[in-house]
């Protein structure tokens, strides 16, 4: 089998990348390989609204947002295969399996990695206790409720205040369950402010910061969990234990980009994001292999996924058309104090489409602080922000003409007031 571009994954990133690549060059043969039995990825189970404010200037549900992309896919005649699991990736071939073709290899000119992310499971959190039914990651519970139409339980405690956990606090409440508490290990939430207000505060669900679950009870089904306050080193404080009776514990403790295929292919991974290191074109350390969406870095908003993925798709199309990469000076993008990572981590000015957007996350909560951008040590941007938290992705936009001076290094840091 052959294709010009193979897109691994048909969620929001894969759809946007495929459409943008086809629009860039309508002669290209683009193939999406999707492991689930429908396109749209995790959007299918996100039936709440709030998607598309940036892309379409309106509030859509997840399935509506995905449908907009899927109809474009059809108009452009882009091929896709469902129930197809990719087993192996290199810069010029992708091996996959499905029930029709068996194990097959697609030879291709470029690959876009769009595998998304998975949730951190209980096992990876070292939560003590028994292992009864009733412990779910928030996303699994979301699938059971919104896709399968079944309730995971009636009385719920949520550990972790990631966005899916917050959304599920509201969803379970609307379905008649009692959400007794959301415990967050850190002294701040990992979710968006708007979700804390709309999903917890509006329903009087307590958010217990600096709290964790220290025991799970119940042999067959969860009967209670024990929570405790934690100190600055995230260790439970003796004497603060409280037992909460419940039949369900939901976990929303972080998302892990699914880079097993990328690692096996030899793609360089940034330990801060657990995603590939990419340049301005969203190209990884392997020429012709691009990455976007949550496999690259975990996003809060799907609109940014779509935007970045469009860029990755166009880059892949140009890579195939030009039979390789442009050359030119490379600017390194570095993360300084308070900044955990940046995407991209290098920039070739010759390949820029216009202004350069650099996205990043902070390593902690900063109030009344400044986002600083320095070109070779010289301040370029010094912007005040009332609050910066790890739960909300930040960005700086650098004008294309400013980059014509081509510094050798761009540094982004947070300066406390």
């Amino acid at each position: 089998m052959k294709a010009d571009i193979v897109i691994v994954g048909g969620g929001p990133a894969g759809l946007a990348a495929a459409i943008a690549a086809a629009k860039e060059d309508n002669t290209l043969d683009i193939l999406i390989l999707e492991r689930d039995h429908e396109l749209g990825g995790i959007l299918n189970q996100c039936i709440h609204n709030g998607f598309g404010l940036h892309t379409f200037n309106e509030e859509l549900t997840g399935p509506e947002y995905a449908a907009r992309f899927e109809s474009q896919l059809d108009e452009l005649g882009i091929r896709y295969m469902l129930d197809t699991m990719v087993l192996d990736v290199s810069s010029n071939s992708v091996t996959a399996v499905n029930s029709k073709e068996g194990v097959f290899t697609v030879e291709c000119g470029a690959v876009v990695l769009c595998m998304g992310c998975r949730e951190r499971p209980r096992g990876a959190l070292n939560i003590p206790g028994l292992r009864p039914a009733g412990v779910f990651t928030a996303g699994t519970a979301q699938r059971l409720v919104n896709i399968e139409g079944y309730m995971p339980g009636k009385e719920v405690v949520i550990l972790g205040s990631g966005d899916i956990g917050l959304i599920m606090a509201r969803r379970m409440t609307l379905e008649g369950a009692k959400v007794k508490a959301v415990c967050e290990l850190m002294p701040y939430s990992g979710g968006l402010k708007r979700n804390i207000v709309q999903c917890l505060d509006d329903f009087d669900i307590p958010l217990l910061l600096s709290h964790t679950v220290i025991d799970i009870k119940g042999k067959e089904r969860v009967t209670s969990v024990v929570i405790a306050e934690v100190d600055e080193r995230a260790k439970p404080i003796p004497g603060t234990e409280q037992e909460i009776s419940c039949d369900t514990l939901l976990l929303s403790c972080g998302l892990i980009p699914e880079n097993e295929l990328s690692r096996e292919a030899g793609v360089e991974i940034n330990p801060a994001t657990n995603g590939p290191v990419v340049n301005e074109s969203f190209e990884t350390s392997i020429p012709g292999v691009f990455a976007c969406g949550n496999v690259l870095h975990v996003h809060d908003l799907v609109d940014y996924v779509s935007e970045e993925s469009g860029r990755a798709g166009r880059s892949a199309a140009r890579y195939v058309k030009n039979k390789g990469n442009g050359s030119g000076p490379v600017i390194k993008v570095k993360n300084g104090a308070g900044v955990r990572y940046t995407v991209p981590s290098s920039v070739r000015t010759s390949e820029l489409e216009g202004d350069l957007i650099i996205r990043f996350r902070s390593g902690g909560v900063y109030r009344d602080s400044y986002i600083d951008v320095l070109f070779d040590g010289v301040s370029k941007i010094h912007r005040r922000k009332p609050i910066i938290t790890p739960g909300e992705m930040e960005q700086v936009i650098l004008k294309n003409e400013d980059l014509e001076q081509a510094p050798s290094e761009i540094l982004i840091r947070i300066t406390e007031n």
């Binding site: 949730e119 028994l130 009864p132 139409g149 042999k219 067959e220």
Partner: protein, 481 residues
């Protein structure tokens, strides 16, 4: 149905199933009674998965004899049962010059027990075969015949083999009483009452309670908990042997080993508990596991943990396997105190108990007996051509359900439909590994639930994690009515 049998085996763990398989060679009727919903739900489900070489046990003990014999039997047994077994070898690591004598003692004991191929390696020798070993290593005892096995697959395959040779299994059935009635034993359960000419007590942590119902000589079992951490398969190759510290009187200590499937396993602790059924992981336990692991292996990335679990060992006060006809109880046979090296020893224990019982009952061997089983077909373990043929004939073998372990719908269906098939998520997991990977069933559990529901005809809200009242969902959402 006729409720009388020649032999009733109580417990479908490795001991009970090994004995069932061996007894199925004889002309006799055998019933296995298990209190849980499936094979391999007690002590057998949570252990290190190690086939020990046999240098630990005191010479002359049943533990030593059964260990050596079980280890010898394992290669051909695993071939017959179509399950993986890797003789990767073990190292008992000495990190303190003052304890060097302990290694010499273990070596001598191993030689007396008849362990083949034992060697004491110096620091350089150890480093050469295991580069990530602690720099403090002084020497180590190397035993090439030690290996790793999947305890679930061993246990289930022995049960399936027994079943294909006529053994009957009753699950979710708890024995409440055992009495002598004339020449027979009456076994009273929470469901039915059965009678048998002989009873084999293979009840793990509860074996003392069953024994004490019938015999004046009393035994006492303590449940000794062990916590473990299982690390991601991406660390495959970080260690290549089973790495033990020097043993203490509480056990063999915290080991680091590759599993037969390429994960890295770390543990166990040894903590005596009162509860014989529940084994919660504790944070103290996990801390001890972590401390123990890094003593012998440097730079072990414990952050790559994918799950923690704990199991219970059935430790009898005497510290020895009790494998005999109970005193004053003709036809009542005990397998009591089956702790480490119980997994290694189980084929030998099965063989030994079957010989005792067949002699007692005067059993004759069957003319035909089929000791060969096939495991769930694993398309990704087949040569490419065979796999292509399988998928074209059975497309469900091309549909991946568990992404992390690359497990297909075909394998899950097979695990449910086969004799003594899976009835729960955990049953599917133990037979296929679906849900055992790095996402721990986050993606695949709803799909496995659907397949279980379709195959069993039960509604989704009746599907359990592990039988009993462990339903995963409680009912429809309100707008679904």
């Amino acid at each position: 149905m006729d409720n009388s049998f020649d032999v009733i085996i109580i417990g479908a763990g490795v001991t009970g199933c090994a004995a069932a398989r061996e007894l199925s060679r004889y002309n006799c009727s055998v019933l296995v009674i298990e209190k849980d919903e499936d094979i391999c739900c007690g002590t057998s489900k949570a252990n290190s998965g190690i086939v020990h070489a046999g240098y630990d046990a005191k010479p002359g003990t049943l533990k030593a004899k059964m260990n050596i014999r079980g280890n010898e039997m394992m290669t051909s047994l695993c071939e017959d049962l179509d399950i993986p077994f890797k003789r990767i070898g073990s190292l008992v690591v000495c990190t303190d010059e003052a304890n060097r004598e302990g290694i010499d003692e273990l070596y001598e004991r191993g030689i007396t027990n008849g362990v083949p191929g034992l060697k004491i390696l110096g620091k350089d020798g150890v480093k050469k075969i295991e580069p990530n070993i602690s720099d403090d290593v002084v020497c180590a005892l190397y035993a090439p015949t030690a290996g790793v096995i999947c305890p679930f697959r061993l246990n289930i395959a022995m049960g399936e083999c027994a079943e294909q040779n006529g053994v009957i299994f009753k699950f979710d059935t708890k024995v409440n009483d055992i009495r002598r009635t004339g020449d027979l034993w009456t076994v009273v359960t929470d469901k039915d009452t059965y009678s048998a000419r002989a009873v084999l007590n293979a009840a793990g942590c509860h074996a003392d309670e069953l024994h004490n119902l019938v015999s004046d000589r009393k035994y006492h079992i303590t449940a000794r908990r062990g916590d473990y951490m299982l690390l991601d398969r991406s660390l495959d190759g970080f260690v290549e042997h089973i790495i033990f510290p020097q043993p203490t009187k509480m056990g063999k200590g915290i080991l680091v080993t590759p599993t037969v499937h390429g994960n890295t396993l770390v543990g166990p602790t040894a903590i005596d508990t009162d509860d014989k059924d529940e084994a919660p992981v504790t944070s103290e336990g996990l801390s001890k596991v972590q401390e123990g692991a890094v003593k012998n292996v440097k730079g072990l990335p414990l952050k790559q943990v994918i799950t923690g679990f704990s199991g219970l060992r059935a430790h009898e006060d005497g510290g020895e396997f009790i494998l005999e006809e109970a005193e004053g109880c003709p036809g009542f046979f005990d397998c009591v105190g089956i702790e480490s090296p119980g997994l290694t020893a189980c084929p030998a224990i099965g063989e030994y108990m079957a010989s005792l019982i067949s002699a007692k009952l005067g059993l004759t061997k069957k003319d035909t007996w089929n000791g060969i089983c096939r495991d769930v077909i694993k398309p990704f373990e087949l040569p490419a051509e065979d796999r292509a043929a399988l998928i074209s004939e059975h497309p469900e073998y091309g549909r991946i359900i568990c992404r992390c372990e690359t497990i297909t719908e075909g394998e899950i269906i097979d695990s449910i439909r086969r004799p003594l098939g899976a009835k729960s998520l955990d049953g599917v997991k133990r037979r296929t590994r679906a849900g055992m990977g790095r996402c721990q069933g986050g993606f695949c559990s709803p799909r496995v639930m659907e397949i279980l529901s379709r195959e069993t005809g039960l509604p989704l809200d009746s599907i359990t994690k592990s039988g009993g009242d462990s339903q995963i969902v409680i009912g429809r959402t309100k707008d679904e009515g």
